[in-house]
């Protein structure tokens, strides 16, 4: 077996195992950490496909930022394991529908040869000096510039909406304004008064 194949099977096995554990472990924090492991292995598989930009960005964005905030929230939950299984049967139909759709899509992808995906030409081998990042950037800002800008706009709207939905002005909260603190002069705080000396 070629070394690359071995690495692929190693990454894939760990990834499938971790993904399974995400949905089977009881503790949400453990589940989130298994999700991190899944992302990490997915990045490894992308690296095998020579998509180093996507792989590293997956680690940077999902593992380095999104999952940190996820853990941040999950860790503060008051976990009651007995109550976690409540409502299992009422959620089952929705879950089953989602599962069947995903299964159907996966079957379509995996049965590519049957549907004639083989007819597609193989991608040409990368030349020397080929930079995945540079090529991706070129395509994003030329051919796909409108969809790309549109996606960024959607993200911006989502961001503003999230802030607008959760921002509440609490009444009665006290806070300091650093600019005001810095601008304080001696005369604002101290008043020198002259008075005659007093005897006991």
């Amino acid at each position: 077996m070629e070394f690359k194949t071995f690495v692929f099977y190693l990454l894939a096995t760990v990834m499938v195992f971790a993904a399974l554990r995400v949905v089977t472990v009881r503790n949400p924090v453990h589940a989130a950490l298994f999700l991190v492991l899944t992302f990490f292995n997915a990045a490894g598989i992308w690296l095998l496909l020579q998509a180093e930009f996507l792989a590293i960005v997956l680690v940077m964005v999902y593992v380095g930022a999104v999952m940190v905030l996820f853990l941040f929230v999950v860790m503060m939950l008051d976990i009651n394991i007995d109550r976690l299984r409540e409502g299992f049967w009422s959620y089952l139909p929705v879950g089953a529908v989602v599962g069947v759709i995903m299964l159907a899509e996966m079957v379509l992808v995996l049965s590519g040869p049957y549907f004639g995906l083989d007819a597609m030409p193989e991608p040409p081998a990368a030349q020397a000096g080929y930079s995945n990042t540079r090529e991706l950037g070129r395509v994003l800002y030329t051919e796909y510039v409108y969809p790309f800008e549109l996606a960024s706009l959607v993200l911006l709207v989502a961001m503003v909406a999230a802030v607008a939905l959760t921002l509440r002005k609490r009444t009665g909260s006290r806070h300091l304004d650093p600019a005001q603190q810095i601008a304080v002069k001696r005369a604002d705080r101290i008043a020198l008064v002259s008075m005659p000396a007093e005897k006991e």
Binding site: E52, I56, M60, G64, L69, F72, M75, N132, T133
Partner: protein
Amino acid sequence: MEALLEPIASLFGAAWPAVWTLAKIVAIIAPLMIAVAYLTYFERKIIGYMQVRIGPNRVGPLGLLQPIADGVKLLLKEVLVPSATSKGLFILGPILAIAPSLAAWAVVPFWDGGVLADVDAGLLFILAITSLEVYGVIIAGWASNSKYPFLGTMRAAAQMVSYELAMGFALICVLMISASLNLSEIVRVQGQGQFADMGLGFLSWNWLPLFPMFVVYLISGIAETNRAPFDVVEGESEIVAGHMVEYSGMTFALFFLAEYANMWLVSILTAILFLGGWLSPVGFLPDGFHWLAIKTSMVVLMFLWARATFPRFRYDHIMRLGWKVFLPVTLFWVLVVAVWIMSPLSIWN
């Protein structure tokens, strides 16, 4: 070199590339560990001098064996695992703290061509690996199942994610003017330009055109490594030692090693990205690793200097600095640099 290695290579046969890479890893990690150990000594000495004290001077001549004694003590101490902790994660925490701070050294170029893995996406790799550093702290704090570690974890998660943004934008400026993500290439680009041709290399390094980014990167670097004055994660007077409260012996030492290895990493990256890496500051002196060593040591000295000088920030001030000052400044400067590159005044062609 190649001819000298030939007989050894034939000895190992097909396993030679793996053996050779392992040897190179050891050649990087072993000096790094010594540098980390002696950084603790220099920190105590230098802060001692700044505060008109003597610092450690009992173990060995001038106290030079102090780090060795500390290391031996930590190695021999019992590793306590409190019964209410989440056992596996409690041990995993310190491992995940030190692993990224060592892994990032794979792409650091020490001299022209002197790099373990000369990958094209080196800067991205550094960003991705350093963004993993927070996991050690988070997992340790949660697995400890105790109040102060958990508070430390919350602080660490928010602080490190916030300052990563400013740091990322500073790096985007660097990569825009270098037109490369390869760290060696970034250094080489700094050796070109008008000033470099005049023999005044230090004026063509990135720190001058990107001065605001240089300052932002340096300060964010201190915040990322949780060093004073940003050390609220382990603020002794508030939460004892943050995520490290429940740790002892070698598990504690791993957090400590990770912190100091990160200091070296941020310093060497500052030297590579903004201070010209291995390049000599003036034309008539040869380039070489010694320049990188000198520059890195200077930046580390800044870290210690800042620790001895400033009082600890209040937490809301840290957040304010990160989000309301650094983020707008860096975003604006990215725009300025982009316009600058496209304008006829561009100095990078």
